[in-house]
């Protein structure tokens, strides 16, 4: 796998202890999802993180495609020995996902960052 160049990086990834924190502020579409996943897997490999926290506080709409890409990313992380925790789902988004009948496979949901860290430390 070729290492990513600076401009291939689509999200900021912050490291907190053994965990990676990823605030999602971009529109997750076909072109960016691939880059996000590549960047994240490289970062997991490099830091040997125990868990990834995906923060979706800024995401106003999560449709079935976006929720699928999040689960897909979590499945990839799991294969690398890393748990994925989703945090910051906004109330309107939660109601929408529930009404559509979406199941967030592979993901653990946390209330806020602190809760996410607690859940991450359990793994």
């Amino acid at each position: 796998m070729k290492m990513m160049t600076y401009k291939d990086r689509v999200v900021p990834i912050l490291r907190v202890a053994d965990y990676l924190l990823v605030p999602i502020q971009i529109d997750l579409d076909d072109s960016t999802v691939g880059r996000l996943q590549k960047q994240l897997m490289e970062e997991i490999e490099r830091t040997r993180a125990r868990a990834v926290i995906l923060d979706v506080r800024m995401v106003e709409v999560i449709d079935s495609y976006i929720s699928y890409t999040l689960s897909e990313t979590a499945a990839m992380a799991r294969l690398m020995g890393c748990r994925t925790i989703l945090c910051g789902i906004q109330p309107p988004v939660a109601l929408t996902l529930a009404q559509m009948g979406v199941v967030l496979q592979e993901l653990v949901v946390a209330r806020d960052l602190e809760h996410a860290l607690v859940l991450a430390s359990l793994s």
């Binding site: 529109d27 579409d29 072109s31 999560i62 079935s64 495609y65």
Partner: protein, 151 residues
């Protein structure tokens, strides 16, 4: 019959709608979603319902982009309806069409690798009314509405 309906809708003048978004590139999905959100907000929907409408539009736009490559999303508000204010969303394309509409509406059905297969059934659950017309080789039209709640 379905072919005519698709042509009529795709040729319908833009002024009949509040928003018309041509879907041809992936970025257009975000545009359609954003426009839907704004219109629903103007119509006085609750934040949760605004999000539901924007999500439904996102699903419809993504279906066009994926399966038909090109099509239109048309949205209009209807304030004078007997049952109260309402938003109507129409998605139309001249794509390959769907041979078994019932099957597509089954939760979990998908022909696309990156999907949960709840796209259209999700739209149906989020909106108050849902109609779909499709013919293989002609295209697909989805007409859907959401009414503003009384309180």
């Amino acid at each position: 019959m379905v072919g005519e309906k698709i042509e009529t809708l795709l040729e319908s003048p833009a002024h009949e709608f509040d928003v018309v978004v041509r879907i041809a590139r992936e970025e257009d999905i975000a545009v359609a979603r954003q426009m839907a959100k704004q219109l629903a907000q103007e119509t006085g929907f609750s934040l949760a319902d605004v999000t539901k409408i924007a999500t439904a539009v996102s699903e419809l736009a993504r279906n066009i982009y994926r399966y038909a490559k090109e099509g239109r999303i048309m949205i209009r508000k209807r304030l004078e309806d007997r049952d109260g204010p309402c938003i109507e969303v129409i998605a139309a394309d001249r794509g390959p069409g769907i041979s078994d509409v019932e099957l597509v509406l089954t939760r979990g059905y998908t022909t696309y690798e990156r999907s949960l297969g709840i796209g259209l059934s999700g739209v149906k659950r989020l909106m108050d009314s849902f109609e779909i017309y499709s013919e293989v080789g002609k295209g697909t039209v989805v007409i859907t509405e959401k009414r503003r709640r009384k309180f």
